[in-house]
Symmetry: C2
Subunit: 332 residues, 2 copies
């Protein structure tokens, strides 16, 4: 049923090789045959079968896009960026939802079956070792949005989470908050501990030890229950640094529900600057991750890794910035 090389070759009156070469950039074909072949291909509606060609070339243009963050609206923005950037680079994302399990080896074997050219891990909660499995299997891999100081040797792109924690601390101090807290994402997440570290270190220079709490997930609900608990156990904290915007929004609602006005009674600062943070009803002061740059750099790294598998894994750290809205009191 589908049109093959053979069919086109027959129609154009040339050999299979000629047709193949017509569609292979840089191959040697005369203008005349090329024209004949292209005409025949057009008439028949021929599309080369990437899968078949991958057998000999070893290239599929397929890239595994793995994430386990399907409840955080921020990641829709990330997926939007990634799919566009990959399409731009002529790569095709094979999307894997890892919410249910965390077993890298299963993903690995699946992606191997499809001979993917590379893998992008877009997750702040997957452990750094996750990406390593692909690297060890010889598949170029980049871990985006996750990072920790002690990651194994794989490509990675993210903000400097320690720096983000630092920035949060500086901001809170500057606003005159003295009793502050850290409401992080899942405690096991690689990023969480870095953010906490940076936060703590800076606060320590002011002689402050933050209250510490963790939400069980990067989600509204998790933020909500964590903050409800936090307000109970640490009612004197004046401002919280939340490990993520969606957690911060949940936290905000929990605080309001318990009668604490924001920012009058309680300050909040988030992280990510997802689009929603700028909505009227949210107006969250937050630390922006430069998502477009992170994505661009990730795809760039993957391209390089594919082009030359010998490329050593690279790390890219991008700066984050404060975005002022309405959940922290003004500078005194």
């Amino acid at each position: 049923m589908p049109i093959t090389l053979q069919d086109v070759a027959a129609r154009a009156g040339v050999s299979k090789s000629a047709v193949s070469r017509t569609f292979t950039p840089g191959a040697s074909v005369s203008a005349k045959t090329r024209a004949k072949v292209e005409a025949a291909a057009r008439e028949l509606g021929y599309t080369p079968n990437v899968l078949a060609s991958s057998l000999t070339t070893g290239r599929t243009a397929l890239v595994g896009l793995i994430s386990n963050n399907f409840t955080n609206p921020y990641f829709l923005e990330i997926f939007d960026l990634f799919t566009r950037a990959l399409q731009e680079a002529e790569l095709r994302p094979l999307l894997i939802n890892l919410s249910a399990e965390e077993d890298a080896s299963r993903s690995l074997s699946m992606l191997r079956q499809y001979n993917v050219d590379g893998v992008i891990v877009a997750s702040s909660t997957l452990p750094p070792e996750f990406a390593k499995v692909f690297h060890d299997a010889g598949i170029p891999v980049v871990h985006a949005f996750g990072w920790s100081s002690d990651t194994p040797e794989t490509g990675r792109v993210s903000i400097d989470n320690t720096e983000a924690g630092h920035l949060a601390a500086v901001t809170l101090i500057e606003r005159g908050y003295r009793q502050v807290g850290f409401l992080g994402g899942p405690q096991s997440a690689a990023t969480t501990s870095d953010r906490l570290d940076g936060f703590r270190v800076e606060l320590a220079t002011h002689g402050i030890a933050p209250e510490i709490q963790f939400a069980t997930a990067y989600s509204y609900d998790a933020g909500r229950v964590a903050m409800a608990r936090a307000l109970e156990s640490a009612p004197t904290v004046e401002a919280w640094f939340c490990g993520d915007d969606v957690i911060a929004i949940g936290a905000m609602d929990a605080a309001r529900a318990l009668g604490r006005a924001i920012p009058q009674d309680l300050g909040l600062i988030g992280l990510n600057d997802m689009r929603m943070a700028g909505w009227d009803r949210v107006g969250l002061t937050t630390i922006r991750q430069p998502a477009p740059q992170i994505v661009a750099a990730s795809v760039d790294l993957i391209r390089k890794g594919i082009a030359d598998p010998a490329t050593p894994p690279q790390r890219v750290l991008l700066p984050c910035t404060l975005v002022e809205r309405g959940t922290l009191r003004a500078r005194p």
Copy 2:
């Protein structure tokens, strides 16, 4: 480098065929050879190459998942559901972001290159004809979340949008609203006109003609500007039926910004019931689309279409229900 059938065959001391059969469900292999082969495969870490086998079997287990809704948080929920359901069915989603362009033929040729087994179009804004292109190319296709009374013959799963419009009208009438408006998604979207139809028809039986406005996209910003405009041009409308939750949220913020309290001064009812609609700070009264069922039915249809390409395209319409929260005044 990678392990092939051949390698396993050699190690197990059998022919390639024996190995192939061991991995083909339902093929004839004795328990003894199967054991030998499995042992060898395990020792070598062999994973069959789906792409190579697809050449002869014509099956890739790849499914194109096409959407152009990457700014509507509702679709993150949809993607979550789809990726899980597809994984469950042993199918792999090849994600295509069609935000930039609407040209079906480009997607078609791309998906053909990869020999996808089927295509799922998850979009409320892509025209019904879009899915038809795949159907005509002999690729099983299901259009989910989009529908219009006059769609061409492709598989489709959605709510009955006319019914949804009807339900919205009934609800508003029941609350005593008489001056009502329709704030739809993009005017070109297939779903929009059906929703409007149902809405209008029911209102007409009460002698009411609604004010009509369209947002330019399914997004917060679009909802916001559309409502700002609507409040100007039709300030007497007491309640609006918004074609989508995220539009409704934007609309709500616009109304508040212009000093209209909700639900006291203005009623709003959305559509979808995305998770966020239930957040404290949103509390949107809305019409729920049964997303899990829509997704399940879509994947089911695709599976059937793949299993037997002769299966005629089916349509599944699922019921939608009212979810009461706080953006409509109480029943008088």
